[in-house]
């Protein structure tokens, strides 16, 4: 998990304008059951990769839980999921 400072550096470098949130205590990660124990550097707990598309009322409309670290959702997958938004 990156700290807010690390996220700030990343956003500046990459020019990202969307919201980056830090979860150093893995609170949200645990709530979403995405904790990957000991998989980070120095055996730290990190998140397993996952994507959720949530509609304005807070309901999950699309999600992607990859079974392989190397295989992530591509923008086209997310746009297809976005068609399910009301």
């Amino acid at each position: 998990m990156d700290s807010p400072e690390e996220s700030a550096t990343l956003c500046k470098k990459a020019g990202y304008t969307y919201t980056f949130l830090s979860d150093p205590k893995a609170e949200a990660i645990r709530h979403y059951d995405l904790l990957h124990r000991g998989a980070g550097v120095d055996g730290k707990d990190i998140a397993r990769p996952a994507e959720f598309l949530v509609d304005a009322s807070g309901v999950v409309r699309w999600r992607n839980l990859t079974e392989d670290l190397r295989v992530r959702a591509i923008p086209e997958d997310v746009l297809k999921g976005a068609q399910r938004l009301p």
């Binding site: 998990m1 990156d2 807010p4 400072e5 690390e6 996220s7 700030a8 990343l10 956003c11 304008t17 969307y18 919201t19 980056f20 949130l21 830090s22 979860d23 609170e27 949200a28 990660i29 709530h31 979403y32 059951d33 995405l34 904790l35 990957h36 124990r37 998989a39 980070g40 550097v41 990190i46 998140a47 397993r48 990769p49 996952a50 994507e51 959720f52 598309l53 949530v54 509609d55 304005a56 009322s57 807070g58 309901v59 999950v60 409309r61 699309w62 999600r63 839980l65 990859t66 079974e67 392989d68 670290l69 190397r70 295989v71 992530r72 591509i74 997310v78 976005a82 938004l85 009301p86």
Partner: protein, 167 residues
């Protein structure tokens, strides 16, 4: 084979400068290059990352070169070098392919199942986390306030991306 027999009659093996077996060396280099080649280059593009066909093609080419080189080394040892280096390089190349197979077919799939993760139709669990400026942001905020930099009103939805961090 007839050519080999004739060559034996013409010179004694000790005097002859045997030919360098370039096939086994280039096969070995190709196999060894395939491992960093994937992680540093092919992994950047979904088309060569998700199914690493380009890398397996490199290993196949390496295997073919090694096989051809080994055959020459053992069929005409008096003409071509590589009877000692060949098997060693072949085993090391096989090791590189094995390492690559382990990393891409096994290790990268060892993810927790996330059986209790919110499913389609579930309410997304609320959270409150710090943004890069230290401001606390809740999911409810993201769902009700316009995106930073956007003109409009309430968003139609929010995409949550959990990633492993850039270390």
């Amino acid at each position: 084979m007839g050519g080999d027999a004739m060559a034996n009659q013409e010179e004694t093996p000790a005097e002859r400068k045997r030919k360098w077996n370039w096939r086994i060396w280039s096969g070995f280099l190709l196999a060894v290059a395939a491992v960093p080649g994937y992680f540093l280059f092919f992994a950047k593009f979904p088309i060569t990352r998700n199914v690493p066909w380009a890398s397996w093609l490199m290993f196949a080419g390496a295997g073919w070169l090694l096989w051809a080189g080994l055959r020459r080394a053992f069929a005409s040892p008096e003409l071509v070098r590589g009877r000692i280096a060949g098997p060693i390089l072949a085993v090391l190349s096989l090791g590189a392919a094995g390492l690559f197979g382990y990393a891409t077919l096994y290790a990268s799939r060892q993810l927790p199942a996330a059986a209790a993760a919110p499913k389609v139709g579930d309410q997304a669990p609320e959270f409150m986390l710090a943004d890069p400026n230290g401001k606390m942001v809740a999911l409810a905020t993201l769902l009700s306030e316009p995106m930073p930099g956007s003109e409009g009103g309430k968003p139609r939805g929010v995409l949550l991306v959990f990633y492993r961090g850039y270390w």
